[in-house]
């Protein structure tokens, strides 16, 4: 356990100067900032929106972008960035000659990628509420104060997070095994596009089995039902459960692959 904590701490220490780490913070901050600026200057068009609709629009835009394209692409990037540190510096061999169990090193690295995604989604949630409340204060004609979206929004982001686990696991394993960025990126990109097609135009009924479609499906479900204060959406929907199951299987398989592999 100590080795695991030391490894996790080391992952933070190593990556604190990399774009992979800062991307997790900058991406939500910039998107939410520019969106708020847009809402501020277009306030006159939004004055007639009811508080519920206003929040729905304000929170819905980043969710729609994240769910469909940005989140899978960002996961591809993050999963690669935590592994590329070792590929680029040729440090796998030193990591695995440390007196720390292999599972600790592997799990810490994996969990670090998960934490980065968690940071991004948490920031999206916090900044949506924060900037929305701020907009309501500095531009009182925007009626943000008339409705509380926190609980529903938290559930949506939590669902998005759990529905992303399958992609995280797959992209992490590919990035761990392949030094060449083009492979995990290419597969991830094709997967993401296929996910959009399967859930959107194709409306394939088993799309929830496909990891790259799961985040989008998890958000779409919410969109179809519309956010209503009285309604409690089902949390563990098929796509969320399958995503977590895929993550568990790929994570364990990844460890066995790593165990058997020679370090070049």
């Amino acid at each position: 356990m100590k080795g695991f904590l030391l490894s996790l701490q080391s992952e933070f220490y190593k990556s604190r100067k990399t774009l992979g780490f800062w991307g997790a913070i900058l991406l939500p901050t910039l998107i939410m900032f520019f969106m708020s600026v847009g809402f501020y200057f277009n306030a006159h068009k939004l004055v007639n929106h009811k508080p519920e609709m206003l929040w729905g629009q304000f929170a819905g835009i980043p969710l729609a972008i994240m769910g469909s394209l940005l989140l899978p692409m960002f996961i591809i990037f993050v999963a690669y960035s935590v592994n590329v540190i070792e590929h680029k510096s040729d440090t796998w061999k030193t990591l695995f000659t440390l007196p720390i169990p292999k599972w600790s090193i592997y799990t810490a690295k994996y969990l670090f990628a998960v934490i980065l995604i968690l940071i991004t989604l948490t920031l999206f949630f916090v900044l949506t509420i924060g900037f929305g409340t701020l907009l309501g204060n500095i531009q009182p004609k925007l009626k943000f104060s008339g409705f509380h979206i926190e609980t529903q929004l938290f559930q949506v982001y939590a669902k998005l997070f759990f529905a992303s686990q399958g992609i995280i696991a797959l992209q992490f394993l590919m990035s761990l095994l392949w030094k060449d960025f083009l492979k995990p990126m290419g597969i991830g990109f094709v997967g993401t596009i296929a996910g959009v097609i399967l859930t959107g135009p194709a409306r394939w009924e088993y799309a929830y089995l496909f990891p790259y479609a799961q985040p989008l499906l998890s958000v779409m479900g919410v969109g179809n039902k519309k956010i209503r204060p009285t309604e409690t959406p089902v949390f563990f929907t098929n796509e969320v459960l399958i995503s977590m199951a895929i993550a568990a299987v790929v994570f364990i398989a990844g460890y066995f692959i790593l165990q058997r592999r020679s370090i070049k």
Partner: protein, 299 residues
């Protein structure tokens, strides 16, 4: 024995790269692991560190079997494999601090190591901007961080300038002599190993062709008589006609096997009487470089 391998075999696909390797590295020694490029040195080192999976044979380190005591053994080893593995986006000092934390060593050791390997002025510079020599020094610093009992260094003087090579050599000799560490160092340069090793293993095409103390290596090298003369070709032909075995002929020297002092005098007299001018004649130990070539070529 600090390192002992028995019947170690390793294959890349069907191709054998290590064949029945039986290494014996005594405690406190500087073991020079010599061999031409591609002989299997790095593969052996990766097997010793369990980076490559053991296929056939056994490895024991500090008297314990490697696989079942992996972490306990790794705790006492500092290693440098091929080119130094350092995080190029971190400074030299941050690289050391990161490793110190992983090894649960006080972080002040980072400064000590920078001083030890002569990088105290460059400690705050990004390691990516280091020269190859500086990276190599940092790699040695990283290997020494946890004060290990055994150092396994793969070509540690690669990329170093002559001063750097001397410093590393002196550091390794000091570590072995004063602190009783065992140093396993691979190299493809005999001259380098000759100057610091107490024991030598020579590997060629995956086979250990020699193993013993540096004195053993010198003793198997046959002494020679070296004659400096004006016309080496004629002199060599003359000696050959008179039944002498000629070893080696250059523009200024003839070398032939040494048999006895009297025999050397006879060669001298014979050449002199035949009108050859002898500038010098004497017994020499066969050059180790030559010996190394002979051993590796024969096998």
């Amino acid at each position: 024995m600090v390192i002992k391998t028995e019947n170690l075999n390793f294959y890349f696909g069907n191709q054998p790269v290590i064949k029945s390797l039986a290494l014996q590295v005594p405690e406190g020694s500087i073991f020079g692991f010599l061999g031409p490029n591609g002989a299997g040195k790095t593969t052996t080192i990766k097997l010793l560190l369990n980076l490559l999976k053991l296929q056939e044979g056994s490895i024991s380190i500090f008297g314990h079997e490697l696989l079942s005591n992996r972490l306990e053994i790794l705790r006492q080893i500092g290693s440098l494999i091929e080119q130094p593995a350092i995080y190029t986006h971190l400074t030299g000092k941050e690289n050391l601090i990161n490793r110190a934390r992983l090894l649960e060593v006080p972080v002040d050791r980072a400064d000590d190591m920078l001083k030890l390997v002569g990088l105290n002025d460059a400690g705050l510079k990004k390691a990516g901007n280091y020269s190859l020599g500086m990276k190599q020094r940092l790699g040695i610093g990283l290997a020494l961080l946890a004060n290990p009992k055994l150092l396994i260094l793969d070509e540690p003087t690669n990329g170093l300038d002559p001063n750097g090579i001397i410093e590393v050599r002196e550091l390794l000799i000091k570590l072995a002599k004063e602190e009783g560490k065992t140093v396993f160092v691979s190299s493809h340069m005999l001259a380098e190993v000759e100057r610091m090793a107490t024991h030598v293993g020579i590997i060629n095409r995956g086979e250990l062709v020699f193993q013993g103390s540096i004195q053993d290596l010198e003793s198997i090298s046959q002494p020679m008589v070296q004659v400096e003369t004006d016309n080496t070709a004629d002199a060599a032909n003359y000696l050959k006609r008179n039944g002498y075995e000629i070893g080696h002929v250059t523009d200024s020297f003839i070398t032939l096997p040494f048999t006895s002092k009297d025999n050397t005098a006879t060669i001298n007299a014979a050449l002199h009487n035949n009108g050859h001018r002898i500038y010098s004649i004497g017994k020499v130990q066969k050059d180790l470089e030559q010996l190394f070539l002979n051993i590796t070529q024969k096998s």
